[in-house]
Assembly symmetry: C2
Homo-oligomer: 277 residues x 2
């Protein structure tokens, strides 16, 4: 048995969806109380607080921003709508820059109809159009492949191989990939694609949660680390071996966890992070 190297608590980041009932201010204050040094805000929460105020809250607390969630959603039926999506992505880049995030996470979007190949083409074109603007603002784009069960509603990008292939058209300084265990744990090519991403210095984010059995809900059924079947430590060590030593976001969509007091969620996720990640 290899010695299992423990993960550094200093890398732990609260992805804000995990405490979805909290405002950005509450999430920042919660991180301070729990001694968590990274946060990944969501754009709707930033908009509620106001961008300048969000920046001030995060900066005053001394928190670092692991990523901004999220850009993407590129495919649309008309050129005008695709342009509107691109404009929104530019705003997301500006917000990420304002907040000091290094990465804008891209949830690439579904196809507007049955033509998934066309949807994928629009994603590639959208990223290509966004890259120069993101580069100017010092923001890396992180393509996050989503679980194939979201292919019709959230993302036509569904495997790490596909994300790696799309990212390969750009400099690793501009476009990388985000590895979220919930989305990729099932993939027979997972470890070879993590390795490939590492060779190209493409990994720009690592998200953890768990896959619960039975799965209570397609969207809100993610589990706390340790409550499911994902080999979290093995994947974390593979991601590290591939050169990624940045923040590790806990990103859990789960109504039962949302209904817990936020401070309890943070305490539990710290404990589970040490035990399982």
């Amino acid at each position: 048995m290899p010695i299992e190297q423990k993960v550094d608590l200093g890398r732990l980041s609260l992805n804000q969806i995990t405490t979805d009932r909290w405002s950005l201010r509450e999430a920042v204050e919660g991180c301070l109380r729990a001694d968590i040094s990274w946060i990944a805000p969501w754009r709707n929460k930033v908009a509620e607080a106001g961008l300048a105020e969000s920046r001030r809250l995060i900066r005053d607390a001394g928190l670092r921003v692991s990523s901004l969630c999220r850009g993407g959603m590129f495919p649309a039926a008309t050129a005008a709508e695709r342009q509107a999506r691109l404009d929104d992505n530019r705003r997301a880049v500006e917000e990420a820059a304002e907040l000091g995030a290094e990465v804008l996470v891209l949830v690439c979007g579904p196809a507007p109809d049955r033509d998934i190949a066309q949807g994928r083409q629009w994603v590639a074109e959208g990223i290509e159009q966004l890259v120069p603007f993101a580069r100017e603002h010092g923001i890396r784009l992180g393509i996050e492949p989503l679980h194939p069960m979201y292919a019709a509603e959230r993302s036509v990008v569904v495997t790490l191989a596909q994300a790696n292939a799309m990212a390969a058209a750009f400099s690793p300084d501009d476009v990388g990939v985000v590895v979220d265990v919930f989305h990729v744990w099932w993939d027979p090519d997972l470890y070879s694609q993590i390795e490939r991403a590492g060779e190209q210095r493409r990994i720009v984010g690592f998200h953890v949660s768990d896959w619960i059995v039975p799965t209570p809900d397609m969207l809100l059924g993610r589990g706390m680390m340790g409550d499911g079947v994902i080999e979290l430590r093995r994947i974390r060590q593979a991601v590290e071996a591939a050169g990624y030593t940045g923040p590790i976001e806990v990103e859990i969509f789960n109504r039962a966890i949302w209904d817990m007091p936020g401070d309890e969620v943070l305490a539990l996720m710290k404990q589970r992070y040490v035990e399982h990640v």
Copy 2:
């Protein structure tokens, strides 16, 4: 625009789960009334009717058996339990032979714990142990990759690439792959893997249904052809171009469809098959 070649109604097969409220006798009689010439019985329904009686019912009706559903479920925590699974698979082969099915569909099973790689190894070993017995009985085994959302509960085999790779260890006369649109439609490698399966004469079954948006349920959320986002005709034509011209099973797990009178389901599925497959 290419001319869209219509599919032959003579290839239509009723997978018995589509009319789950019907006994085998009722399903056979329903196929006769609807002029459907193929059926894919499920083992639990065959057991209810009795194997010899099932054979008689199907033979007397002049129906052909596109496949028996299902064998598989190879991984288990103990050697004794894995042996019990293998014994059950041998019974499934005997039943398939008795019913005159050419193919036994394999739903390969989940891992008994977090070690998905070990689960996959047990699947490979289980198939290897089953092949000589199946060959003696004239039964081909059809590895059916399931949607990755079932990886924890039903099958560690989740992509056509993986099924093709597992099948490659055996003669195409012994082991093939089953292409079910619901399970594979999202896959960026779908068409290349259909082509690969065709080059090796591996395709031994083709199942149709649809992916509804929003998906009402992870297990019972499949749709009737035409009600969802799957490019059915494109996939059917790819499977044909890869050399598969055998029966096409309609396999729909959906409570609303189960609640419809069976004759209406068969009428609707014939209509949708002509329009969309």
